[in-house]
Amino acid sequence: MSEYKKIMKDNIWYNNPVFIQILGICSALAVTNNLINTLIMTIAVSLVTAFSSFTVSTIKSLIPRKVRMIIQTLIISFYVIIVDIILRAYMPGISKALGPYVGLIITNCIIMGRAEGFAQSNKPIISFWDGFTSGIGYLVVLIAVAFFRELLGFGTLFGYRVLPEGFISWTIMLMAPSAFFMLAIFIWIAKGYMLRKEAK
């Protein structure tokens, strides 16, 4: 059991895919100006990562080494298509707001990274867990970024007004640059904390 716990700790904090490895921020930054979209997007990514790691690990002995990248991509696209169909059927509004970014989960580097780096050499169940916790690590960071962007940009959280009416919203928070700044600040705080802990 301790192995599972260690993987979880690594993926969520010590080796977080977003702020330590700087992976998968492509499709991510664009959806973080709204908490609901971010939540749906990150859950979708977690599930796709978990299931594609599981599949890759299950059939790893059948895949010739030379074509493994393309097979992995196909496995990932398969799960992304399922997610896309589910979103379009049950949450058409969110599916429209996310636009092409659902499809871009295919090229999210975290999923490929976990499939190649972990699932290739481990058993299916633990690969599933590794993929899932990596997704959770991604979820945590993005939710933190989205929280501040939505709060300061619209004055709302999950669509509910929390700041008083008189609050002048920061338009910059809704635009592209703030996503970079917020993530940079997050990295700054997290790394600063780690460095200080190391020094002790």
């Binding site: 702020f19 700087i22 992976l23 998968g24 921020i25 492509c26 499709s27 991510a28 930054l29 664009a30 990248m69 393309i70 991509t73 196909l74 696209s77 398969f78 992304v80 298509i81 896309d84 169909i85 636009g99 092409p100 499809g103 871009l104 295919i106 090229t107 999210n108 580097c109 490929m112 635009m175 592209a176 640059p177 703030s178 996503a179 970079f180 700044f181 993530l183 940079a184 990295i187 700054w188 705080i189 790394k191 600063g192 780690m194 460095l195």
Partner: protein, 198 residues
């Protein structure tokens, strides 16, 4: 329904105002990891522009002439990614055969491109906005050039900043790079209002 935009406007807009990287956040992974070095950035930028132009055109043809007539829209992600992977594979072999020198400078970056979100992103945007073939080609070319411009600019800035002793230790590396990209994105927003594509 194709939007009524001149391909040239689309071309310039995709370089500046709706830069695929700074406005749509696509292709960040390789953007951050490769921009440490100007020569590699140049090679990758060239490769991205080439592949993006070719795949956008091919994907347009495949989507409008094969996928739509057969009613297979839900398969588009898989089809797009296969087309991109195939083009990258063929280009790699062709360039190796025709110009070994170019292969040396481009070759190592070509496989990286299959998983570059910007390439898939341009194909998806092209399809979502119903561009015509000509518009798609100009959009692909413009986005590639815009990406190339952005990575060269970032590589040049990073060369100076990475040597600076004033960066706080926790912000070194990716942190400061993200801040630079944020400032660049603000600068590119300054172009908006000149042209607009949607």
């Amino acid at each position: 329904m194709a939007p009524q935009i001149s391909p040239f406007i689309l071309f310039f807009a995709s370089i500046f105002t709706s830069n695929i990287l700074l406005a749509n956040f696509l292709g960040m992974c390789s953007f951050i990891s490769v921009s440490k070095d100007i020569t590699s950035s140049n090679g990758l930028g060239m490769a991205v522009t080439l592949v993006m132009t070719i795949t956008t055109a091919l994907n347009w043809i495949v989507y409008n002439k094969i996928i739509i007539p057969f009613g297979l829209e839900y398969l588009r992600y898989i089809v797009f990614i296969i087309v991109i992977a195939a083009v990258v594979q063929i280009l790699e072999m062709l360039i190796d055969r025709i110009s070994p020198n170019l292969y040396m400078s481009l070759g190592i970056f070509l496989p990286l491109i299959t998983v570059n979100c910007a390439i898939l992103g341009v194909s998806l945007f092209m399809q979502l906005r119903y561009y015509t073939l000509i518009q798609s080609v100009f959009y692909g070319l413009g986005s590639g050039l815009g990406w190339w411009l952005a990575i060269m600019a970032l590589a040049a800035i990073r060369k100076k900043v990475d040597k600076s002793p004033n960066v706080p230790p926790a912000l070194k590396g990716p942190g400061i790079t993200l801040i630079i990209i944020g400032i660049m994105a603000m600068a590119f927003i300054g172009f908006s209002g000149m042209l607009n594509v949607q």
